[in-house]
């Protein structure tokens, strides 16, 4: 089969359109560069009525929102999921890594939690504190100006708190806590756990003329037709197009490899058009990888040549290594004093209005890194699963569980909005022994070799999860509540999520000054190939107990500025 070649020479080809790819698209196109964005999924715009799920009612779906097809429920705006038909991935040594992929313009930014936290100086240099993992080659002051710019461009609500490990930003004002969050604030206080307003990228106040202000429907995971939350399409790619950027979007286009010349420099990408299933070639002076930590690693590892026998830019052998995800564990509680609630609309923003940043000193604990606590609860919209076991809480009052008839109606109403829960999201230590690699025996339906995962948690993460469980139980008791379910045991990893499940996978192309121990330099430029950059979470040296997106955005902006500078200096 012949490869179909485009005659256009792009300044930059960007592979992927999520947070990192979107930011690169905006900054590079606005600098006047001619940009191609290659996205494996379809076009998506939250404003498109045909694609919208915002404000849909459960009864508009025959399965009432069940997650049979979309993993986070029928109305979630992530096309793709844990498993994509025809695009498998495999496991090694009993690993159970779960990999979430969104195939659509904007990628996973269309449904994510919008928790937007800055890394602190300690997060960049944590090895100095406990001797574990590695330091980043950059520190907070290098990234701070870009965090500031991201705050102002995209908008993030929060509050100035002056906490050294939770750097403040240019915040929009925070929404008031809901009832279950006020309960949480009191319960956490009794255990000495601090609570502050959440920091999330929904626009609670006008940030620019093109985007609306939050309408408090709680449905950010469905993508916002008012563009009042951050997603890569609505906040970066569409505005860049509006500003007259020369941007060609290639959708349903699956990049197979980065092409190179005799000197080992990148010349473009080879992709498969999913519609006609033919191979195409795009030419570019620079290639920016933004396909997600694991997808970018896969493409680079599959880009083998005489000059790059182990995969593009992989002389260190470290592409795919140091893969790590946030830790996660969760727990729920039933709060009897919240029964028989008065009904009012408390949808609020999608997700939490308050949270708890890490508050303890790990020197006094049996695990080295911290976690933050996320809170959920409230009188949410019923969906599939609502009313299952409608009166199980009767057991707390010595009443019969089960039955039928009109009493079920009063049971459902009595307990509606009386449960809440917590998710702990923590930092794990990046290890060389946790990795993804190319499976030599398996290809996807496009004939592209797939990833194989090797990932094991250690006692550090298990002990951290155990601590989460103890904290959650204590706080639920403080609220006069009943903890739901039994305490997870050591055999159950104390309820620790499987790796990958928190969808914060990072580290596969890590950053460093030494080409032998890292894949990219501090500008996310490959040590071996100076015209290839990586702006997803692959370059993260460590994850921190923070969600990665705000740092992906800040670094992608910093890298894009560097690329523009290189063009100006004619270094590229």
């Amino acid at each position: 089969m012949q490869i179909i070649e485009s005659s256009t020479m792009y300044d930059v080809i960007i592979v992927g359109s999520g947070a990192g790819g979107g930011m690169a698209t905006k900054v590079l196109s606005e600098a006047g560069l001619k940009v191609a964005v290659v996205e494996a999924g379809p076009f998506f715009d939250p404003k498109d009525p045909k694609q919208q799920t915002q404000f849909k009612w459960p009864y508009e779906s025959p399965r009432r929102g069940a997650n049979t097809v979309r993993d986070f429920g029928e109305f979630d705006m992530a096309l793709g999921g844990w498993n994509i038909e025809g695009e498998p991935y495999t496991q090694k040594n009993g690993s159970k890594f779960n990999w979430f992929r969104s195939r659509m313009l904007g990628g996973r930014t269309n449904h994510w939690g919008r928790i937007s936290l800055r890394f602190s100086e300690r997060d960049f240099k944590h090895k100095d504190v406990d001797g574990l993992g590695d330091n980043w080659p950059i520190g907070y002051e290098d990234v701070r100006p870009y965090y500031d710019k991201v705050d102002k461009l995209i908008g993030v609500f929060g509050s100035k708190e002056g906490l050294i490990n939770e750097p403040d930003g240019f915040f929009l004002p925070a929404p008031k806590p809901r009832l279950h969050e006020l309960y949480y604030m009191d319960g956490a206080k009794k255990s000495g756990v601090p609570v502050i307003p959440a920091r999330m990228s929904m626009v609670t106040k006008k940030v620019n003329k093109d985007r609306g202000v939050c309408v408090y429907c709680g449905q950010c995971a469905r993508a916002c037709q008012y563009y009042a939350d951050f997603s890569s399409g609505s906040c970066l790619i569409f505005p860049a197009q509006n500003n007259g950027g020369q941007i060609d979007l290639f959708v349903n286009s699956m990049v197979r490899e980065v092409t190179t010349n005799d000197e080992g420099k990148a010349t473009g990408v080879l992709y498969i058009n999913k519609e006609d299933r033919k191979e195409y070639r795009l030419k570019g002076k620079v290639v920016v990888m933004a396909a997600s930590a694991c997808s970018s690693a896969r493409i680079l590892l599959n880009s083998k040549s005489e000059q790059h026998p182990a995969g593009l830019g992989n002389s260190s052998g470290l592409i795919g290594k140091y893969l790590h995800d946030s830790t996660g564990a969760s727990r729920g509680g039933f709060i009897p004093s919240m029964m028989d609630r008065k009904m009012y609309n408390e949808d609020g923003v999608g997700g939490m209005h308050v949270y708890s940043p890490w508050w303890l000193d790990n020197k006094k604990l049996d695990f080295p890194r911290g976690y933050h606590i996320e809170v959920w609860g409230g009188m949410g919209m019923p969906n599939y699963g609502f009313g299952f076991n409608p009166n199980n809480f009767n057991e707390y009052f010595g009443e019969k569980v089960g039955g039928y008839g009109n009493s079920l109606r009063s049971d459902v109403k009595k307990y509606y909005g009386a449960t809440l829960g917590f998710g702990g999201r923590g930092e794990s230590i990046a290890q060389e022994s946790n990795y993804c690699e190319i499976d030599p025996n398996t290809v996807d339906e496009f004939g592209i070799p797939v990833l194989r995962f090797n990932y094991q948690w250690t006692d550090y993460e298990r002990n951290q999860a155990k601590h989460m469980q103890q904290t959650f139980e204590e706080i639920i008791h403080n609220m006069g509540g009943k903890v739901l379910g039994d305490t997870p045991t050591l055999e159950q990893d104390y309820g620790l999520n499987k790796p990958g499940e928190i969808i914060h996978e990072v580290g596969t192309t890590r950053m460093g000054d030494n080409p032998k121990t890292s894949v990219v330099n501090q500008y996310e430029q490959m040590h071996d190939v100076d015209n290839v950059f990586i702006v997803d979470a692959g370059p993260f040296v460590s994850q921190a107990d923070k969600n990665p997106t705000w740092t992906i955005l800040a670094l992608a902006w910093r890298t894009s500025d560097y690329i523009v500078e290189q063009f100006k200096k004619q270094n590229i």
Partner: protein
């Protein structure tokens, strides 16, 4: 300015070589990205073509036969009967919802069919009549035997009943009438400005004084945000 009128870039459905989909060419103004007046697809609520196809396929199949659907209708109405204000679960279409779920989640199928069969068997044995034709009193006697599951080791019949009750309650409260019955007030654009005072009072809660300046002043939500150099919001 309308984004769609000013766009200079294009979407290429994977096709290189200057052949643009949507009938637009590179470098020309185009409003072809998203049809502004695209009809709201009421029926498919944001489905992809593949998802639509899959729903149509399930709808074309019939899992329960007529007798089973009638039995399910009687059972759902016993689980959630009509009251003075709202119809029964059967009145709001729960049996059709269960029919769909049985196809959508095949793991339910044997338990549902087998359970319905058991209801007739039990009714035939005790009252010499199929379940759906038994008197409400007889039906309730049968249900009383399976509606309160053993905590440690629930029986097969109890599991069947629990499954149907779960599907019935969830089907009812995700219906238009059920949501109204529940009193859920959301899923609509609004402005959240905190828990109502009477609710705060009832629960003995209040917003801490030192938190008040952190909260959004909803009267200024449409005023453009500006900050001083020290990260203080000044608008």
């Amino acid at each position: 300015m309308d984004r769609r009128k000013s766009i200079k870039s294009i979407i290429l459905g994977g096709v290189a070589g200057g052949l643009a989909l949507n009938g637009c060419k590179p470098g020309t103004d185009s409003d072809a990205v998203v049809p502004e007046e695209a009809a709201v697809d009421e029926k498919y609520f944001g489905r992809t073509p593949e998802e639509k196809e899959q729903i149509a396929k399930l709808n074309a199949e019939q899992f329960f036969n007529e007798h089973q659907m009638e039995t399910l209708g009687v059972l759902c109405a016993l689980i959630l009967p009509a009251n003075e204000k709202y119809g029964s679960a059967t009145d709001v279409g729960v049996p059709d919802f269960i029919e769909f779920m049985a196809k959508d989640i095949p793991a339910y199928q044997t338990e549902l069919k087998g359970g319905l069969m058991w209801l007739d068997h039990k009714s035939n044995k005790d009252y010499s009549v199929e379940f759906k034709k038994a008197t409400p009193e007889q039906q309730k006697v049968i249900l009383d035997g399976i509606a309160f599951p053993d905590e440690k080791e629930p029986t097969y019949e109890q599991n069947f009943f629990s499954l149907v009750r779960n599907l019935t309650v969830t089907g009812y409260y995700t219906s238009k009438e059920g949501i109204e019955d529940l009193g859920y007030k959301g899923n609509t654009p609004n402005v959240w400005d905190g828990v109502p005072q009477d609710v705060l009072d009832k629960h003995g809660k209040s917003y801490p004084k030192e938190w008040m300046p952190k909260f959004v002043d909803q009267s200024k939500r449409n005023v453009m945000a500006e900050w001083d150099d020290d990260m203080n919001l000044i608008t």
